[in-house]
């Protein structure tokens, strides 16, 4: 039987589910351990002095015990909240999309400093109403970090430089194809402006408090949907929050 370990760590609460009468299970994104499902006992009783008020999308200092991969939080102190109350549906659903992508891509108990800081930046952007830019930034950065970012400079088949009206993203090969080399594979047409934006975002690295005013004007929901289709092809999983996010934009 494994020994109980005691850990102090900083993490972001990204989703929660009720567990039993008084307990909840939170998925906590941490820098050192990736996404960890943790149980918070008696959290629904609001007079528990070991916990600050906990909700999703809060950065907190946690004290946890770990035994046989079973994490129990026994103390939680608030460090930062991104969202002022009341939050609107667009901010909630877009943050949920980021949470879902984190859970899909980030393995449990795996050090992932990059994703942790990326989520920090993206939640900060969402809180400042840069919602679409934040989502597209997150999509592109997570594709890069997972090694499935598509080749976007030349046609992957004939290696020729691509011209406007010639941009087809082929899901199977993970890159662009010119119209001459097109096959029956799953594909979507990308606009030149979209390619330029993808290239730009792939190169920039935002810091925590940096705004992204210059790029916001160019982002649109269609680019988000196209990249999302590409991610879905590679993960074969639906993002549940997307439907509600699209509703919130109407």
């Amino acid at each position: 039987m494994q020994k109980t370990r005691y850990l102090n760590f900083e993490g972001i609460t990204i989703s929660s589910n009720d567990y039993g009468e008084f307990d909840k299970i939170y998925n906590i994104l941490s820098e050192s351990e990736g996404v960890i499902p943790c149980i918070l006992k008696r959290i629904k009783k609001n007079n528990n002095k070991n916990y600050d008020s906990i909700d999703i999308f809060q950065k907190m200092e946690f004290k946890a015990s770990v035994r046989e991969n079973f994490w129990t939080i026994y103390e939680a102190k608030n460090k930062h909240s991104w969202f002022d109350r009341p939050i609107n549906l667009a901010k909630l659903s877009s943050s949920n999309i980021i949470a879902e992508l984190c859970i899909k891509f980030n393995s449990i108990n795996e050090n992932n400093t990059y994703i942790y800081h990326l989520v920090n930046i993206c939640l900060s952007l969402i809180s400042k109403n840069n919602i679409l830019f934040s989502l597209i930034y997150f999509q592109i950065k997570i594709l890069i970090s997972e090694g499935i970012f598509p080749e976007i400079n030349n046609c992957l088949s004939c290696k020729t430089k691509l011209t406007p009206d010639d941009y087809y993203l082929i899901f199977e090969i993970g890159g662009l194809s010119c119209s001459k080399c097109l096959t029956d594979n799953t594909k979507i047409k990308l606009l030149e402006s979209e390619i330029r934006l993808i290239k730009y975002i792939s190169k920039i690295e935002l810091s925590y408090n940096e705004s992204a005013q210059k790029t916001i004007e160019n982002v649109n929901i269609n680019l988000y949907k196209k990249i999302s289709q590409y991610i879905k092809y590679h993960t074969t999983q639906e993002i549940k929050s997307e439907k509600i996010f699209f509703t919130s934009l109407n």
Partner: protein
């Protein structure tokens, strides 16, 4: 003891444990304890428990007006002429309405949303009874709407969505206060709750 050993003891117990562990908040260990408790309990008590379960399933329904769990449609709250039907309290679930009823401080009517908006679980406004609520408000304009959703991000998003959908400016909309619980200590209250308590302080004279 692993699952294959349990199956060899009794497939009936395994089946019972399996069914019980599907209930919310019941894990495999609790399910086992409940199963062995049921086995030890006299048959008459188990018969009445199973009859109550069947009766609840067969006889309880949702009130078509407020969506509370009830035996009769409309429910005893909607059909009670002594209650104030010009005050409407919006809650997530029937159990929240029962909690408020237990306080004996509220005599208006309710609207049960049947959950809260939770995009990550695929629950949006269309999965709740929000359209029925808006229809109800339009048909019988209340004097006051009390939003009693949970003070969580999802509860807040639900209330914000509802408030944005209520176009009529004449109706007064209030929200339950958020702050320090009775019996709580100020020095142990976290900054967020304390700030909220300060912002929603009430004049006392």
């Amino acid at each position: 003891m692993n699952s294959s050993n349990k199956a060899s003891i009794s497939s009936v117990i395994t089946e019972l444990v399996g069914h019980l562990s599907q209930l919310p908040g019941i894990g495999p260990k609790t399910a086992e304890r409940l199963a062995f408790h049921i086995i030890k309990t006299p048959e008459s008590k188990i018969t009445s428990l199973s009859q109550s379960l069947m009766k609840a399933k067969q006889q309880l329904t949702f009130c078509k007006n407020c969506f509370i769990v009830t035996e009769n449609d409309p429910c005893s709250i909607c059909s009670n002429e002594f209650r104030d039907h010009k005050t409407l309290c919006i809650v997530h679930n029937s159990i929240d309405a029962y909690a408020i009823e237990n306080t004996n401080t509220y005599s208006g009517s309710y609207h049960i949303l049947n959950g809260s908006i939770s995009p990550i679980n695929g629950i949006g406004p269309n999965e709740l009874t929000i359209s029925q609520l808006l229809m109800r408000i339009n048909n019988n304009l209340p004097n006051e709407i009390i939003i009693a959703t949970n003070p969580t991000i999802e509860g807040d998003a639900t209330s914000t969505y509802i408030i944005n959908q209520i176009k009529n400016d004449e109706v007064k909309i209030t929200r339950l206060a958020i702050g320090i619980p009775i019996g709580g200590d100020l020095d142990y209250t976290d900054n967020k709750t304390l700030t909220q308590a300060f912002n929603s302080r009430q004049p006392i004279r």
